[in-house]
Amino acid sequence: MATLTIPHPVPSAAEDAEHIRKAVQGWGTDEKALILVLAHRDAAQRKHVRLAYEEMYNENLIKRLESELTGHFERAVYRWIFDPIEREAVMAHVALKKTFDHRVIIEIACVNSPKELLAVKGAYHARYKRSLEEDVAAHTAGDFRKAFTYRYGGDEIDISLAGSEAGILRDVITQQKSNHEETIRILGTRSKAQLNATFNCYREDYGTPIEESLAGEAPSEFASALRMAIGCIVNPQLYFVEALHDALGKADTDEDALTRVIVMHAEKDLRGIKEMFQGRNNVPLEQAVRQKTSGDYKAFLLALIGD
């Protein structure tokens, strides 16, 4: 469930565009007014506001906001304003251009349903005139691209195959074989239903969940990436709760990760994530965010979280 709150009745797109215009005109910016509008509109409404603004003032709203705002607040608003599918394409592109943030790539590849991932790829084509795969392949080690296959989306599974592939994964992990090929083949091509069956077989046959086997003392980068991918596939909600915990728990708050999780889930399933966060950390998410962030950035996040 989303945490996004929308006022009743909601102003028209033209009214919103006007309020935004007032907020960005002249010296300085009225961030509160921006948050009041943008953080309380769903994807369709935001799109209408963008169109209305452009029609009324002959200016691209996103470009205007980019020039008016700064820092973490700007980055959060920039990511928020798109619709969910476009957003993922934009975030993938950003992740590839700057210092490569593999978390974003893994999340996009593993959390989305096959149909959603396909839509993201289409949005990426339209926006960047290249395919997501070619950019991932060109900017990262080849293995990441292989997570982007169009998986079978149904529920049928092959139990004996699950058992044998659990065995293969076991071999790779315990013997620290450098045979990543098989691991990547399995994780990159099998359907989610099949993978879940495989992980269940792993737990039953070898006594520990596969995530724990991969944790260990000094896990390699590869093992960490695998753990992330598996986490996204098996229990995405828990994965995001842990991501938030990590982002907020560090002395130096990881605003990029915080922004990413909140912005990408506020209109999807942040409510469930919030509840699980509180359950595991004995602290409501709002409180943690309030403590670790400041200024307009804080206000924006809290608005999205539904404070």
Partner: protein, 341 residues
């Protein structure tokens, strides 16, 4: 009677069966079993077996195949292109046919058609093409035109030496094939010329280092071939030609799967024309012959005119004439209609 014998023999030669000639003879020889006996005694399709002429098993088998050609082409013609492609790929994987058929499908369909084939595959077989290709290539990579590995004329030491060279390449085939079938290429015309040039050089390096154990360069080649848009690749191949003075199709000509990849991505009409001509050859096996149906049906609505033009240029003969010469009956007529005569 010699006339009818000739007609019958002719009706059963070539691809497909000349149904109308057969009907003519059947009608002519009504109530004349001695004529049929005469045919059986003089035909290679029958062998004396004590007191009667027995039908050769090979003949029966080949009749089954030849009569089915028209049925197959009709069913395939009626099918949705996505289902066709999905079934062809499934067939290759489960009957251990050469993987270059998969390369052909993956490289000559548009991004949305290939995606459609993947969707159809999900619906028909409850797996993704990617997972099945990855799994099968893993199991029998030998399928990739390395049959000379087991050529009886090579000495043992030669065979072992060859296997050593080809072993590291197995993962390359896996990457290449899975990469090709999972591609969702950008379909527009925008190309970055600088990147095309640098990737042409990267391909050049990969070819030079093909023998060495350095895997990195080869994976670059696979990345380029399996992710870049077709427009981009055509530019890249053009640069390659300029830089190295050789076409990339020539460079990879002997490489299984890789050769077909660059041909299909570079100039598919030329690739298809070659496949069609192989079907007419004397040494054509069943798979090469079936390719005729596959190519004509799948390209009839797409670029068959271009293929015809290239064929005529390459082989100094009209495709329609070759079809008339080498095929029979309803199968022949179906081919001619699909080819646009």
């Amino acid at each position: 009677m010699a006339e009818e014998h000739e007609a019958l023999t002719r009706a059963f030669s070539g691809l497909g069966v000349d149904e109308s000639s057969l009907l003519t003879v059947i009608t002519k020889w009504r109530k004349q079993p001695e004529k049929r006996r005469g045919f059986r005694s003089s035909s290679p399709f029958f062998k004396p077996h004590g007191s009667f002429e027995r039908c050769e098993d090979d003949f029966v088998r080949s009749l089954k195949v030849e009569f089915a050609r028209f049925k197959n082409i009709t069913v395939l013609w009626a099918m949705h292109p996505w289902e066709r492609d999905a079934r062809w790929i499934h067939h290759v994987l489960h009957k251990a046919h050469p993987f270059n058929i998969i390369v052909e499908i993956a490289c000559t369909r548009s991004s949305d058609e290939l995606l459609g084939a993947r969707k159809a595959y999900h619906a028909l077989f409850h797996h993704s093409i990617e997972e099945d290709v990855a799994y099968r290539v893993k199991e029998n990579y030998c399928n990739v035109r390395t049959s000379f590995l087991f050529c009886p004329t090579s000495s043992n030491s030669d065979t072992i030496w060859i296997m050593k060279i080809y072993r590291p390449k197995r993962s390359m085939y896996l990457q290449l094939l899975v990469g090709l079938v999972s591609a969702y290429r950008y379909e527009g015309s925008r190309v970055d010329d600088e990147i095309a040039k640098s990737e042409a050089k990267a391909l050049g390096h990969a070819i030079k280092n093909a023998g060495s154990k350095d895997p990195v360069e080869n994976y670059e080649a696979i990345r380029i071939l399996t992710t870049r848009s077709k427009t981009h690749l055509k530019e890249t191949f053009r640069h390659y030609n300029e830089i190295y003075g050789k076409s990339i199709e020539q460079e990879f000509a002997d490489e299984s799967c890789l050769g077909e990849t660059v041909q299909c991505l570079g100039s598919s009409a030329s690739y298809f024309s070659k496949v069609i001509d192989k079907a007419f050859g004397e040494a054509a096996d069943k798979i090469a012959q079936d390719a005729l149906t596959r190519v004509v049906v799948s390209r009839s609505d797409v670029d068959i005119e271009e293929i015809k033009a290239v064929y005529e240029k390459q082989y100094k003969a009209k495709l329609e004439d070759k079809i008339v010469k080498n095929t029979r009956g309803n199968y022949r007529d179906a081919l001619l209609s699909l080819v646009g005569m």
